[in-house]
C-alpha cells in the first residue's frame, strides 16, 4: 500500500524548541522523552556493572571497598530494574506504537501520559540523591531486617524513589488498558490485534495490579526506618519473612512486566522477516495472558530456603512449572513460524533470533530453579544471576534492540547502517554468552552471589565472564553511534521499508502529529504475509 510521500510536516517538525517537547502531549514525543531518559539510566546501571565485573576479575577485593562494592550491585539492580527494564519497551516503543497499531490519534489520556514521564523523573531524583549522598547497600531486594534496622545507607531515599516511579508505571498501565479497550480501529476485533498489543495489554494488567503491593511494601520499610513502627523487627513481634512475601508478590509479576513486551516485539519481527504469518496466533495471544495471570501465583519460588513451610514450597514449585508451559508454547510457535518462509536476516531479525536462543537458554535455567531439591543448592548463587540475566538481558534487552531497529525507520524517518547493525547484534550476542554462561557454571560450583571476594578456585570462570562483559559493552555502545549518526545522515526511510503488515506501516515515516492522514480500517487478520494458505491466515476468523 503506498502512502503519499509528503503531505505535511512530521511530528518532529510541528512545534520546535525545548519547551514544546517538555509540554507535549503527543505520545510520539513522550516516547522520545522516555527514550532519552532510559538510555541514560541504562548506561549508569551499566557503568556500575562494569565496575563490578572489573572487581571480580581477581578473587581479592582490591578495586573498591566492601561497602562500595555492596553499593555498586545494589544501585545496578535498582536502576536496571526500575529505571530501565520496567519502563523500557512499554514507555518507548509502546508509547510510540500502541496508538498507531490501533489506528488511533493518541492514547486515551495524553496528559496522563506526559504526567507519567514527569513522575518518573521526579522519582529518579530521590534515587539519584541516594546514590550521590553515599549510596544504598541493601541489595535491590531490600530484605529486612537488614534494610529496616541495620543498614546505615540511604535506604529511605532510594525506596521513596522507587515508590514514586511505581506511580508512573501504574499511570502507563491504566492508559494502555483503556486505549486498547476503547480506541481500536473499525473492524479491529480482539483477535485481529497484533501480538505486541496483546503483550502490552497483559503487561499493563500486571503493572496496575502488582505495583501497588510494592508501594505498600516500600511504605512499610520507610515507616519502619523513619518512624520505628517495627513491623519487620522480630524483637517486637514482627516477621522478617513477611517482607519477603510482600516484596516477591510484586517482584515476581514485575519480571513478567519486563519480559512480556519483549515477547510481543519478537512476535512482530519474526513473521515479517520470514514472510509468513505467526504460527498459532491465538495460542500465542492466550499464552501471554496466561503468563500474566500465573505470574501472580509463583512468588514463593524465591523463598524455598527462606524458612517458609515445605508445603508452601511444594505448591509454589508446582505453579512455577505450570508457568513454564505457556512460555514453551511461545518458543515453539516462534520457531515454527520460520517453516516454509522466505527468510532474510536484517538486523531486527538477527536480534529476534538471538532473543529466541537466549530466552530459551535462560528459561532452561528456570526449570532447574523451580525443581525444589536442586534449587536448595542453586539459590543465592551465580546460577540465579545467570538465569535472570539470560532472560532480562539476553531476552529483554535483545528484544528492545530488535524493536528499536525494526521501528527506527518509522520513528525517525531514517534508515540505519545495516552492516553496523549486524555487527552490533552479533557482538552483543557473543559477548553476552561469554559473560553469562560461565556464571551458570559458577553457580553450580557454589559461588554465592553478592560476593565481593571469593575463593581462588572460582577465578577462571570470573575471568571469562569479565572478558565477555567487555565485548558485551562494545555491542551495546555501538548502536549509540550508528543510530545517532543515522538521525542526521541516514537515508530517508519510506513508509514501509520492511514491507510489514500492521497499521503503523500505513502512515508516513515519520508519522504526522495526528498519526494518520486518513484513519485506517482493519479488514482481516494480522500477519497477512506470504501466499495465502488454506486455514492459516493469521488468526482463525
Amino acid at each position: 500500500m503506498t502512502v503519499a510521500a509528503s503531505a505535511g510536516p512530521s511530528y518532529f517538525a510541528e512545534g520546535a524548541g525545548i519547551r514544546a517537547w517538555l509540554t507535549t502531549t503527543d505520545h510520539k514525543r513522550i516516547a522520545w522523552l522516555y527514550l532519552v531518559s532510559l538510555t541514560a539510566f541504562f548506561f549508569i546501571g551499566g557503568a556500575a556493572a562494569t565496575l563490578i565485573r572489573i572487581e571480580l576479575v581477581t578473587p581479592a577485593g582490591d578495586l573498591v571497598s566492601d561497602d562500595s562494592y555492596n553499593k555498586l550491585f545494589t544501585i545496578h539492580g535498582i536502576i536496571m530494574v526500575w529505571f530501565f527494564l520496567v519502563p523500557s519497551i512499554p514507555a518507548t516503543l509502546g508509547n510510540f506504537l500502541l496508538p498507531l497499531m490501533l489506528g488511533a490519534r493518541d492514547l486515551a489520556f495524553p496528559r496522563l501520559n506526559l504526567a507519567s514521564w514527569y513522575v518518573f523523573i521526579f522519582g529518579s531524583f530521590f534515587t539519584l540523591y541516594a546514590v550521590i549522598a553515599g549510596g544504598v547497600d541493601t541489595g535491590w531486594t531490600f530484605y529486612t531486617p537488614l534494610s529496616s534496622m541495620f543498614s546505615n545507607s540511604h535506604v529511605s531515599a532510594a525506596a521513596a524513589g522507587v515508590f514514586i516511579v511505581g506511580f508512573s508505571t501504574i499511570m502507563t498501565g491504566i492508559n494502555f488498558i483503556v486505549t486498547v479497550h476503547k480506541l481500536r480501529a473499525p473492524g479491529q476485533t480482539w483477535f485481529r490485534l497484533p501480538i505486541f498489543v496483546w503483550t502490552l495489554y497483559a503487561t499493563s494488567l500486571v503493572m496496575v495490579l502488582a505495583t501497588p503491593v510494592l508501594a505498600a511494601t516500600l511504605l512499610l520499610i520507610i515507616l519502619d526506618r523513619l518512624f520505628g513502627i517495627g513491623i519487620f523487627d522480630p524483637s517486637q513481634g514482627g516477621d522478617p519473612i513477611l517482607f519477603q512475601h510482600l516484596f516477591w508478590f510484586y517482584s515476581h509479576p514485575a519480571v513478567y512486566i519486563m519480559i512480556l513486551p519483549g515477547m510481543g516485539v519478537v512476535s512482530e519481527i519474526i513473521p515479517c522477516f520470514a514472510r509468513r504469518p505467526l504460527f498459532g496466533y491465538k495460542a500465542v495471544a492466550l499464552a501471554s495472558m496466561a503468563i500474566a495471570l500465573l505470574g501472580f501465583l509463583v512468588w514463593g519460588h524465591h523463598m524455598f530456603v527462606s524458612g517458609q513451610s515445605s508445603f508452601a514450597g511444594v505448591v509454589f514449585s508446582f505453579l512455577s512449572f505450570c508457568i513454564a508451559v505457556p512460555s514453551a508454547i511461545k518458543v515453539f510457535n516462534w520457531t515454527l513460524t520460520l517453516r516454509k518462509g522466505t527468510i532474510s536476516f536484517e538486523t531486527p531479525m538477527l536480534y529476534a533470533l538471538f532473543f529466541l536462543g537466549l530466552f530459551t537458554f535462560g528459561g532452561f535455567g528456570g526449570l532447574f530453579l523451580a525443581a525444589l531439591a536442586v534449587d536448595v543448592h542453586l539459590t543465592d548463587t551465580y546460577f540465579v544471576v545467570a538465569h535472570f540475566h539470560y532472560i532480562m538481558v539476553g531476552g529483554m534487552v535483545t528484544a528492545y534492540m530488535a524493536g528499536l531497529h525494526f521501528w527506527w525507520p518509522k520513528i525517525t524517518g531514517r534508515m540505519f547502517s545495516e552492516s553496523w547493525g549486524r555487527i552490533a547484534a552479533v557482538t552483543s550476542f557473543l559477548g553476552f554468552n561469554l559473560t553469562f554462561f560461565p556464571q551458570y557454571v559458577l553457580g553450580f560450583l557454589g559461588m554465592p552471589r553478592r560476593y565481593h571476594t571469593y575463593p581462588p578456585e572460582f577465578a577462571f570462570w570470573h575471568i571469562l565472564s569479565s572478558a565477555g562483559a567487555v565485548v558485551l559493552a562494545i555491542g551495546y555502545l555501538l548502536p549509540l553511534f550508528y543510530l545517532g549518526w543515522s538521525l542526521f545522515k541516514g537515508p530517508r526511510a519510506p513508509a514501509n521499508p520492511w514491507n510489514a503488515t500492521g497499521l503503523e506501516w500505513q502512515t508516513r515515516s515519520p508519522p504526522p502529529k495526528h498519526n494518520f492522514d486518513t484513519p485506517p480500517e482493519v479488514i482481516g487478520p494480522p500477519y497477512a504475509y506470504g501466499p495465502p494458505v488454506e486455514g492459516e491466515r493469521g488468526a482463525p476468523e
Binding site: 502531549t25 496508538p99 490501533l102 489506528g103 488511533a104 490519534r105 493518541d106 492514547l107 486515551a108 489520556f109 495524553p110 496528559r111 496522563l112 501504574i170 498501565g173 491504566i174 492508559n175 488498558i177 483503556v178 479497550h181 476503547k182 480506541l183 481500536r184 480501529a185 473499525p186 479491529q188 496496575v208 495490579l209 502488582a210 505495583t211 501497588p212 503491593v213 508501594a215 505498600a216 511494601t217 511504605l219 512499610l220 515507616l223 518512624f227 520505628g228 513502627i229 517495627g230 513491623i231 524483637s235 517486637q236 513481634g237 514482627g238 516477621d239 513477611l242 510482600l246 508478590f249 484513519p519
Partner: protein, 207 residues
C-alpha cells in the same frame, strides 16, 4: 484534549473512557490496601489474643463517629454529582465544600485519636513509650503497628481526596467539563469511604 482522540473506533465516548480509567486506577488502589489488609489478617490469625487486647484499646466511640462523618461526606459528594449533572452548579459546589469540610473533620478526629493513644502510651511510633498492660505485649505491638500503617495510609488518601474536592470546588469555573471531573472525583471519594468501611470493623471490633 483527552476527548478528541477518544472519538474513534469502538470508543463509546469521553465519559465512558474517563470512568473506565478511574476504575482501573481504583483497582490498583484496592491492591494497595488489599496487600496491607492481608498482612494484618495474617498477623491477626497468628496472634488472636494479642489483637483482641489491642483492639480494646481503640476508642469505639471515636471510630464510630468517624465512620458516620465519612459516610455523610460520601452522601454529600453524591448529591454534588447529581446536582452537577443537572446543571445546578452552585449547589454542587456547596455540596463539594461540605464534603471537603467533613473530610477535614474526619482527619481532625483521627489526629485527636492518635494524640490520645500517644498519651496512653499505646502508639509505638517515633520512639514514643509503649506501655501495654494486656496479654502478649510483644505481639500486641504488632496490632498497633498495623493500625498505624492502615489508618495512616488511609488518612493520606483522605487528604488527597480533600485536595481533589477543593480543586473542583474552587476551580469549577475554569474546568472544561466540571460535572465530568466531579463524577470521577466522586468515584475516588466513594472508594476511600469503602476502604474505611472495611478498616473500621477489622481494627475496632476485634472480639
Amino acid at each position: 484534549m483527552s476527548g478528541e482522540s477518544a472519538h474513534q473506533g469502538e470508543g463509546t465516548g469521553i465519559q465512558a473512557t474517563g470512568e473506565f480509567g478511574v476504575f482501573i486506577f481504583l483497582g490498583s488502589e484496592a491492591l494497595l490496601f488489599g496487600g496491607l489488609i492481608l498482612t494484618y489478617v495474617v498477623a491477626r490469625l497468628h496472634h488472636h489474643e494479642a489483637f483482641v487486647g489491642g483492639s480494646a484499646e481503640l476508642s469505639l466511640v471515636t471510630g464510630t463517629a468517624n465512620t458516620a462523618i465519612l459516610l455523610t461526606s460520601s452522601f454529600a459528594i453524591a448529591l454534588a454529582t447529581i446536582w452537577g449533572e443537572e446543571g445546578k452548579d452552585n449547589r454542587a459546589r456547596l455540596a463539594l465544600a461540605v464534603t471537603a469540610a467533613l473530610g477535614l473533620l474526619f482527619l481532625c478526629v483521627k489526629a485527636y485519636e492518635y494524640y490520645d493513644e500517644a498519651q496512653r502510651h499505646v502508639l509505638p511510633v517515633l520512639g514514643l513509650p509503649f506501655d501495654y498492660s494486656g496479654p502478649d505485649p510483644q505481639h500486641a505491638r504488632l496490632f498497633f503497628d498495623a493500625y498505624l500503617a492502615l489508618t495512616g495510609t488511609h488518612g493520606l488518601h483522605v487528604l488527597t481526596g480533600i485536595g481533589l474536592v477543593l480543586t473542583l470546588t474552587l476551580g469549577w469555573k475554569r474546568l472544561g467539563r466540571p460535572a465530568h471531573w466531579l463524577k470521577l472525583g466522586a468515584l475516588y471519594w466513594h472508594f476511600i469511604d469503602v476502604i474505611w468501611v472495611f478498616l473500621f470493623p477489622i481494627l475496632y471490633m476485634v472480639r
